[in-house]
């Protein structure tokens, strides 16, 4: 009951916070008074409706979402594997650390441009560029999580000769859960921002492409319509997938 009350309270706070954001935007638009610079929600929402009705918005949302999902899966898979290796093997950590620092400090724009130049203006280059940008931050987070693994539980697994898979699934993974969730949450927001730049620079569909198009036309309303639509999609993904998964993984803490 307490959990249900906490949850409904949390939803109320989130809803109020979003409402405050919309009201703030509304007020700024009114104060500014120039819809070509900052159109209010009452101007942007009909644009969203029209793009939805034409099917354009769904088409470009799907293209961006596909790239985000692909880059996310690749970045998380590679990042978790390398993070585990570096966190558990001092030799590997020493060898790979300079690479990690180099990639952490490589500007996203450089990676994107180089991927387009080397691989070509195609989907592989786009997704690779995004994944390369995200992998180092996942590695750093997972490496910290691996270093913080409970040594006594590792001893238990060794003494009782747990198989590698059972050990990973039931001893290591639950301890890494918060780190994976943290890397995932920050990852998905970073990835979609980079995907937009990738689309802006070299794709012919996706939210980034549309923003590029309306930027050239100085159409702030359409830029906001496409950008905010994708923000809403990401909020829905967070609410429907990330939060329930986090709550499920942490249920033993609240039992």
């Amino acid at each position: 009951m307490k959990w249900a009350a906490d949850r409904s309270g949390s939803i109320a706070v989130t809803a109020t916070s979003i409402l405050a954001m919309v009201l703030g935007w509304w007020a700024l638009a009114l104060i500014n008074g120039d819809p070509t610079v900052l159109p209010g929600p009452w101007r942007v929402l009909p644009l969203v409706g029209a793009e939805l009705a034409s099917g354009d918005l769904i088409h470009h949302l799907a293209a961006t979402l596909r790239r985000v999902a692909l880059a996310f899966v690749i970045a998380m898979s590679v990042g978790i594997a390398v993070g585990l290796l570096m966190g558990s093997n001092q030799g590997a950590d020493q060898w790979l650390d300079p690479w990690l620092i180099a990639f952490l400090n490589l500007p996203a724009l450089v990676t994107i441009v180089l991927c387009y130049l080397w691989i070509g203006l195609n989907e592989v280059a786009a997704v690779t560029a995004v994944a390369i940008n995200k992998i180092p931050t996942v590695v750093v987070t997972i490496r910290e999580g691996t270093r913080a693994l409970d040594r006594q539980l590792s001893d238990v697994a060794t003494v009782f000769r747990m198989s590698r898979w059972i050990r990973f699934r039931h001893v290591v993974l639950p301890q890494l859960g918060p780190y994976i969730a943290s890397a995932g949450r920050s990852g998905i927001s970073l990835i979609w921002k980079i995907v937009l730049v990738v689309e802006f620079l070299g794709r012919s569909d996706g939210i980034g492409f549309k923003i590029h198009l309306y930027f050239q036309l100085f159409d702030v309303g359409m830029v906001l319509a496409y950008a905010l639509s994708f923000v809403v999609v990401m909020l829905v993904i967070e609410a429907l997938f990330l939060r329930p998964w986090e709550a499920h993984a942490a249920r033993w803490r609240h039992a």
């Binding site: 238990v156 697994a157 003494v159 747990m162």
Partner: protein, 199 residues
Amino acid sequence: MISVSIDSKSIGDTKVLGRVSFEISEGETLAVVGPSGVGKTTLLRVLAGLDTEFEGQVQVPEHCAMVFQEPALLPWRSALQNLTLVNGVSDAAARAALGEVGLRDLANRFPGQLSLGQRRRLSLARAFSAAPDMLLMDEPFVSLDAPLVEEMLELTESLLASRSIATVFVSHAMEEAQRLATRIVRLTGSPAVFEDPAP
């Protein structure tokens, strides 16, 4: 049969164990007593295969179980899963083991929902349900109050009596050693070696 002949064991530059030799047969319980920090846990870690950097020879059975100083349970798995996942025993065998330590009705609880005494009993159930040939116990009653120590001693006595396991029990409390062991040795000095216990 456990056969141990350690010549020396160092941690960093510090020599922790000197020459330590003993043998234990099935059904025998060797108690190793000594002050905190003398090297008792180090000795158990060598026997458990957790520490392989030492000089000497250790022959132990393949099938080993250990009761740690802390219960060392998986907090994100139920009491039942702490047995089935760690030991690979069946649900029925795990439930029987939980019944033996008085936790039959708490099989679906997470460790965090159990009292310290119950967690200690779960740790015992995990070790005994593995049906080991060698059991290592590292001060399993430390930080418990006197009535709980008595309860755990009785439980451990009955569990050991119903099985034929070669056991090494480590404690700083002579009374606990006298209750559980068939043989007692004292680990003392620096580097630590065995000597007969004081009468």
